[in-house]
């Protein structure tokens, strides 16, 4: 079981991710924008963070960059959620310090597997 922070402004996707991750035994905290994600990450120190790239206020890439800059969140595993049309953002995201990325539309099963795999890798 891990504590997962999900930052996603689309309610459908957010609810689906929460459902899937809770079903697989994780505890999930969800927020709808980048600034809230940053605040939640600092306050709760989750085990892993899922960040949507396109969010109001602060993009997922900016949040990722900021989290890597702050010592207490610098080592947290981060997965980016990106739309197919923004695949060019993937390189930017990985450069910003993300550990993995998931392209939307996404398979909830694959998402859960990726979370598991990144957690296993980073905990090893």
């Amino acid at each position: 079981m891990a504590i997962v922070l999900v930052a996603e402004d689309d309610a459908d996707i957010r609810d689906l991710i929460i459902f899937k991750l809770e079903q697989t035994g994780h505890a999930v905290t969800a927020v709808g924008d980048g600034l809230s994600a940053l605040k939640a990450a600092r306050e709760q120190t989750p085990d892993i963070i899922l960040l949507d790239v396109m969010m109001p206020g602060m993009s997922g890439i900016d949040v990722c960059r900021e989290l890597r800059r702050i010592p207490e969140t610098a080592g947290l595993p981060i997965i980016l959620l990106t739309a197919r049309a923004q695949e060019s953002d993937v390189a930017t995201g990985l450069t910003a310090g993300a550990d993995d990325y998931i392209v939307k539309p996404f398979s909830p099963r694959v998402l859960a597997d990726r979370v598991h795999s990144v957690l296993t890798r980073t905990r090893a």
Partner: protein, 367 residues
């Protein structure tokens, strides 16, 4: 009846009509609000079932059965959420929703709606069929590419791409001809989604009488990495009467990146070719990623046409290999004051900026 009485009566009737109209509007809005609230409540009630269906593993039979059995009123409340989710999920979750829609008879209804008088109904039906990937709808959707409504044509083009039936390539390409009823980028995106099955139609379209069709075909072949068509594209680059087609072909050859593309692109940078083709060929030589392009790009640094020289320098920087970087550095050092040195310096400065560094201006002034 006197005139005064007539005016009074008319005013009274007008006031009555306005009051009645006001009542109808207020009642209509109140009913609409009530229905929206009720639908939102119903949708919220059934949202866990939808999430269970899309987020579940193999145990989706129960949510599927319950959602498929919803009465009309409840389904009307749930349907927008279900369609919205369909656009956001893939794989098993997408298949589960499609299965639900099939059980609800949504595909059949949408196929019927493709012939409706209202453009919104036709567009919505095309959208749903595309999201469902309903292969049987492809011929009917191809027919909508010449629909009287531009919105319907656009939705139909996108839906054909989502369905991914290779036989849609011909009608999609044909929709570009004669002024084109569908925006180019939508047709191109859909053709890309059709995958390798569309390549024979795309290769044939390189000889279409309409330049717009040839241009999109050339572009899509490059974007989809159709390396087997490189030689055909080389022929198009050399001999197509349209500059636009040749520009897109040059771009595609750069994307394909096979060795046979190199000579054709070097040739296309020659002074006999139109400016736009030379500019694109200079960029494409960088896309190839081959060190064999370095000597040709080096020669282009001093080209009198600004954009040709500029793109050649950027291509050398993109190649990033030892010889390419050496050419740029040597040009800055050994040809100070020339435009070639200016282009080379700018390309190196951009690379430095990307690495978070600021390059110092050259000591000699750049003309």
């Amino acid at each position: 009846m006197s005139t005064a009485q007539l005016v009074s009566l008319t005013l009274a009737m007008l006031a009555g009509a306005v009051t009645l109209l006001g009542l109808v509007i207020v009642t209509g809005r109140a009913l609409h609000r009530r229905r929206t609230r009720r639908d939102a409540r119903l949708a919220a009630d059934f949202r866990p079932l939808l999430l269970e269906l899309t987020g579940g593993d193999d145990d989706i039979d129960e949510p599927l059965r319950r959602l498929a059995a919803l009465d009309r009123r409840r389904w009307r409340a749930v349907e927008p959420s279900a369609i919205s989710l369909l656009t956001k999920v893939s794989g098993h979750a997408h298949a589960a929703l499609v299965s639900l829609f099939a059980q609800r008879g949504l595909a059949r209804a949408a196929l019927r709606d493709l012939d409706r008088f209202g453009a919104v109904r036709r567009a919505t039906a095309a959208h749903v069929l595309g999201l469902m990937g309903h292969t049987e709808a492809a011929p009917a959707l191809a027919g909508l590419l010449s629909d009287r409504s531009p919105e319907v044509r656009a939705v139909a083009a996108r839906a054909l791409g989502q369905i991914g039936a290779a036989e849609a390539a011909d009608p999609l390409l044909a929709s570009l001809a004669a002024g084109g009823g569908v925006p180019f980028h939508l047709v191109a995106q859909s053709l890309i989604r059709l995958g390798p099955g569309a390549r024979p139609a795309l290769a044939k379209a390189l000889y279409h009488p309409e330049a717009a069709v040839r241009a999109v075909a050339a572009e899509v072949l490059g974007l989809t990495g159709a390396v087997e068509t490189a030689r055909v594209l080389i022929g198009v680059l050399a001999g197509d009467p349209s500059g636009e087609v040749r520009v897109r072909t040059a771009r595609s050859l750069g994307r394909l990146g096979t060795p046979v593309c190199l000579e054709a692109l070097i040739h296309a940078t020659g002074p006999a070719h139109p400016h736009a083709v030379r500019v694109e060929a200079a960029t494409a030589l960088g896309d190839l990623g081959s060190p064999r392009a370095v000597p040709a790009l080096c020669d282009l640094l001093g080209d009198p046409q600004y954009h040709v020289a500029h793109n050649a320098a950027r291509s050398l920087a993109r190649l990033g290999s030892g010889p390419a970087m050496a050419v740029l550095a040597e040009t800055v050092a050994e040809r100070p004051g020339t435009t070639a040195a200016g282009h080379a310096w700018e390309a190196l400065a951009v690379l430095d900026l990307q690495a978070g560094q600021l390059r110092r201006p050259p000591t000699a002034p750049v003309s």
